[in-house]
């Protein structure tokens, strides 16, 4: 299936190609890719600090590549970033294995106080953000909360959820998008 991707190069990206305004380009790249890079790396390395290191190094290399015009087609930028992050993670993993003994000793001494050790992604969400999300959830209609719980916490398949709610899959998708939209609006209103 052919994919249509609508990419609009901004002034900042144009400046990227010209090798100027590095701060703006860095902000653009960071805004767009920082979180997904952290998620990508945290899943592999299971360590928030390591994930942030990988994200930072990936963005640095992407910025450098843009300034040196090594990314000829902006449509290729996401794939370039993905591949760069993947390579850095592999390298990071090899380096980490050299320190495996020390890491194991370190981890053995850690106290497990939550489930975050088994879910490396949720460790990426800092406490202030959690408080904002928690507050937003409390202001949501109960049906929205129940739906989000079924979708993202209980791990039910869409078909199961649709059956439980007595709706067709299309209606479920609409409800999900509305619930996520309401949540985003509430987070925007309650976040510090």
């Amino acid at each position: 299936m052919a994919r249509t991707r609508d990419i609009m190069a901004s002034d900042a990206m144009t400046r990227a190609a010209n090798g100027s305004s590095a701060d703006e380009i860095a902000v653009d790249l960071s805004n767009r890719f920082w979180k997904r890079l952290c998620i990508f790396a945290a899943r592999r390395l299971r360590d928030r600090s390591a994930a942030e290191d990988v994200a930072q190094e990936t963005l640095r290399r992407a910025l450098q590549a843009l300034r040196q015009q090594r990314v000829e087609n902006l449509e290729a930028l996401p794939a370039f970033i993905f591949q760069t992050a993947r390579n850095i993670c592999l390298h990071y993993g090899r380096s980490a294995r050299r320190e495996e003994g020390a890491l194991l000793r370190f981890r053995a001494g850690m106290q497990s106080s939550s489930g975050e050790e088994s879910d490396p992604l949720i460790a990426l969400v800092d406490e202030a953000r959690r408080e904002g999300v928690r507050s937003a959830i409390e202001h949501m209609p109960p049906d929205d909360r129940d739906l989000l719980r079924m979708l993202y916490i209980d791990g039910l398949e869409s078909s199961d959820i649709a059956r439980r709610l007595g709706v067709d899959p299309g209606t479920l998708r609409v409800r999900k998008h509305r619930a996520l939209k309401r949540l985003s609006e509430l987070i925007g209103n309650v976040s510090p």
């Binding site: 299936m1 052919a2 994919r3 249509t4 991707r5 609508d6 990419i7 609009m8 190069a9 901004s10 900042a12 990206m13 653009d28 790249l29 805004n31 767009r32 890719f33 979180k35 997904r36 998620i39 990508f40 899943r43 902006l74 996401p78 794939a79 993905f82 993947r86 489930g115 879910d119 992604l121 949720i122 990426l124 969400v125 953000r129 959690r130 999300v133 959830i137 209609p141 109960p142 049906d143 129940d146 989000l148 719980r149 079924m150 979708l151 993202y152 916490i153 209980d154 791990g155 398949e157 869409s158 439980r164 709706v167 209606t171 998708r173 409800r175 509305r178 996520l180 949540l183 985003s184």
Partner: protein, 194 residues
């Protein structure tokens, strides 16, 4: 947050409609090869990236149980642990492959009735064993929630006004346990007017 200066939308995102893959990724339930394939897409699709970020945030909040009180007696904790272990050992083998059912959603039905008189909605229902509170919700004609309330009683009365001409409103009541989990529910009922 997605930057404003570069907008990338995969118009034919195959994961937006079949979002089980996205949610399995967030839950760490995809195989390595499937996860990597999805991640490649994730870097190209801002919509999926936003949903993944939001899902991670939700899991960081909703996935956490309330913290245990440090004053919980050790003996009680031991009993709870023993019961939990015995239940876990006695579970059907396939239970580990499927998520636990939502308690009561399809099992226990609340018998309820309600009516709207002069814009005031009054409802009552039969008590449910184990219920700590009841949640009453009002919906518009397309199933969007209009308002809701919670009560420890088995009756409720609230001014909700009349439905817009030609539209019907619906309601339901759910019973919640101590953990605020739904343990029983009425059917979706049409709001009767005299």
């Amino acid at each position: 947050m997605i930057g404003n200066s570069i907008i990338s939308v995969d118009q034919n995102c195959r994961y937006s409609d079949e979002d089980d893959v996205l949610r399995a990724y967030v839950a760490g339930r995809l195989s390595e090869s499937a996860a990597e394939e999805f991640e490649q897409h994730l870097f190209e699709c801002d919509r999926c990236a936003q949903e993944v970020e939001r899902a991670v945030e939700l899991r960081s909040v909703m996935g956490r149980r309330e913290k245990q009180s440090p004053l919980l007696p050790l003996a009680a904790a031991a009993i709870v642990a023993a019961v939990a272990i015995s239940l876990w050992q006695a579970r059907p083998r396939e239970a580990s492959l499927t998520p636990p059912p939502l308690r009561g959603i399809s099992g226990r039905e609340i018998m309820a009735s309600g009516r709207l008189v002069d814009g005031v909605f009054t409802a009552s229902w039969k008590p449910v064993r184990g219920a700590r509170s009841y949640r009453v919700q009002i919906f518009d004609s397309i199933g969007e929630p209009v308002t809701w309330t919670e009560t420890s009683k088995t009756t409720v009365s609230a001014t909700i006004g009349s439905a817009p001409p030609g539209q019907t409103r619906y309601w339901k009541v759910q019973a919640l346990d101590d953990d605020h989990i739904v343990i029983a529910s009425s059917e979706l009922l049409k709001i009767q007017t005299p």
